[in-house]
């Protein structure tokens, strides 16, 4: 177990390092100088020089790479010339909003997804099972931002039930909850389909195990068998998927956050990309990748503790 943990954490660090290195390589491989690209064609040479100095671009390339790594390791992701604030501070300001959105979205998706997955198992082989299957695939495939726009139009613009824009007032928990409902709905709906499918498949596997036959032989009602006997075992692989889910749902929150004008990592990075604000883009990408790696690695280790058989399945 310890060996596995060291290997897994080591791999995560190597991956993070590779990612940082390739991102830096990309910046230097592409022709054109970031400062002039960022300022546009009408910038004066003096202004460009100033920006270059501020961004550390006047240093030799190797020094730049080295200082980037050294700073990143201490949590210093650089300085944003536009807002005149450290990148890390900005990320920390926006990240809680995105994390809250992702957690709420995954949370409701998990509850509904498990219920639908179990329902499909109870009704397996029937028309309802097939209908739920088609529904799940449909939910997975429809882009979240289209759902976000439709939800915005219907519930905020037409019905005025919920706010259309923002993340609520700071300190006002009710307004914050109201503001998270529509984005979380749009962001989570694809995961409902995905989790329903996953739970169904995992449950059907468990339902073939001998102890389920025992429970049947004692005449337990099917619903009790599904929820009390099968679900407890079938839920384990879902934990692994949830970790991957949390990592990726935070990134795909970009579109939904933009639609709802919700301050978060997504709006931070899209704004920066449009302005070609290198330090913010690189810092955010690096932060999100690191977060994703931490969650996935932690989940892998947790699963390996829970069930040594799964360890090998999820590595492949």
């Amino acid at each position: 177990m310890l060996n596995y943990a060291i290997k897994r954490i080591g791999l995560a660090i190597v991956i993070l390092f590779t990612v940082m290195l390739s991102m830096y390589a990309m910046v230097f491989l592409v022709p054109g100088d970031p400062a002039s690209l960022a300022l546009g064609p009408r910038a004066t040479p003096a202004l460009k020089e100033l920006l270059r100095e501020r961004m550390g671009l006047d240093q030799p390339v190797l020094i730049q790479v080295w200082s980037f790594f050294r700073n990143a390791a201490t949590g210093d992701l650089g300085y944003d010339v536009w807002s005149k604030r450290p990148v890390f501070d900005q990320i920390m300001e926006f990240f809680p909003n995105t994390l809250a959105l992702g957690a709420v979205a995954l949370g409701w998706a998990l509850v509904l997804g498990i219920l639908l997955g179990c329902a499909a198992v109870v009704w397996r082989g029937t028309f309802m099972d097939r209908l739920l299957g088609v529904l799940s695939v449909g939910l997975i495939s429809i882009p979240a931002f289209v759902i976000a726009i439709y939800a915005l139009l219907i519930f905020a613009v037409w019905l005025h039930w919920l706010p259309a824009i923002g993340a609520g007032q700071p300190g006002d928990i009710v307004s914050q909850i109201k503001a998270v409902i529509l984005p979380a709905f749009a962001l989570g709906i694809g995961w409902v389909g995905y989790l329903a499918r996953l739970v169904r498949a995992s449950m059907l596997e468990v339902m073939n195990e001998n102890h389920i036959r025992t429970a049947r032989a004692f005449g337990l009602p099917e619903r009790r068998i599904v929820f009390r006997y099968a679900l407890r075992i079938a839920i384990i692989p879902t934990i692994a998927i949830l970790a991957v889910g949390l990592g990726s749902i935070l990134s795909s929150a970009v579109f939904v956050e933009t639609v709802f004008g919700r301050p978060g990592i997504g709006t931070l990075i899209t704004g920066a990309v449009q302005k070609r604000n290198y330090p913010v883009v690189m810092g955010t990408v690096l932060f999100m990748t690191a977060f994703y790696l931490v969650v996935v690695t932690a989940a892998d280790l947790l699963i390996a503790r829970l069930d040594p058989r799964i360890r090998d399945v999820f590595r492949g």
Partner: protein, 285 residues
């Protein structure tokens, strides 16, 4: 694959209502994309300020946008944009993935280890974050979009091909060939290629809707296809900005995206059920 096998796949696809529905939608979108200039009622770029924000009518079935352009024509040409980007990107990614996967699966150990580390690093990057980073560096546009999609898709395909290559590489008939002195290139081309094409086709067809979504999403953020070229994402963005002035616009602009992603996903699922039901589905990203 023989034509007999293809016919069997087609038949089992049509028997499955979901697969048949997907196939019909996909064919409809393909026709729309190929015949766009002939079936579109108007020039998708023609601006007519006097006809702004027209609701759906006999003259403009889907209404007009904030510049008075015909929405239906823009959607039809948007199909052309979406499908050409998706097919080009999937084609290139599939080709490169095939090559890299075979090299990793069949080549020397150190090269395999290096490539696997590369694939792992690539796929631990959240897809959209990576896309945004590349766009920042290269600048937005259709070419960048294709580059991004190719880069994020390669690891998935390469890993699939690598796994298939590894499992086939130890098969008895391959060993026999090698003992007989057949060259590696010959073995790869004659035995591995036909065996890995099936799964690759399924995964490619299941990835098309993801690419369509990414294209539309990035174009929606104004970081993908540049206006005035019609893209479903641009159209949706135009609708979003005129949400209060003309709500019908955003409602209609979302439909092609919903139908296309549904169609391609159902077709992909149907293909998988018909060819290889054990193939894993991906985590949504």
């Amino acid at each position: 694959m023989s034509s007999g096998a293809n016919r069997g796949i087609f038949r089992s696809l049509m028997r499955d209502p979901m697969g048949a529905f997907g196939l019909i939608l996909v064919v409809a979108f393909l026709i729309m994309a190929l015949a766009a200039p002939w079936i579109a009622p108007y020039d998708p770029l023609k601006i007519s300020i006097t006809e702004r924000f027209q609701p759906p009518s006999l003259a403009h079935w889907a209404g007009t946008d904030q510049l008075g352009r015909d929405l239906l024509s823009r959607i039809i040409f948007g199909a052309r944009t979406a499908l050409s980007i998706a097919m080009t990107a999937a084609g290139i990614a599939g080709g490169v993935g095939l090559l890299l996967g075979m090299i990793a699966g069949y080549g020397p150990r150190w090269l395999d280890a290096f490539l696997v580390l590369m694939f792992d690093s690539m796929s631990s990057l959240p897809m959209i974050m990576f896309a945004l980073a590349v766009i920042t560096v290269v600048g937005p546009g259709t070419g960048t979009l294709i580059l991004v999609v190719v880069l994020v898709s390669i690891p998935g395909y390469a890993r699939l091909i690598r796994a298939q290559t590894l499992s086939l590489g130890s098969a008895d008939f391959i060993l026999a060939e090698r003992v007989m002195g057949a060259s590696s290139a010959r073995i790869l081309a004659r035995h591995l290629l036909p065996n890995v094409v099936g799964p690759l086709v399924i995964v490619l067809s299941m990835d098309i809707p993801v690419i369509i979504m990414l294209e539309a999403g990035l174009s929606y953020l104004n970081l993908g296809v540049r206006p005035p070229i019609p893209s479903w994402g641009n159209i949706l963005y135009d609708g979003y900005t005129s949400l209060r002035a003309a709500p019908s616009m955003v409602l209609i602009a979302g439909l092609p995206l919903v139908l296309a992603t549904l169609g391609f996903t159902f077709l992909g699922e149907g293909l998988r059920d018909a060819i290889d039901p054990k193939l894993k589905v991906r985590v949504p990203r």
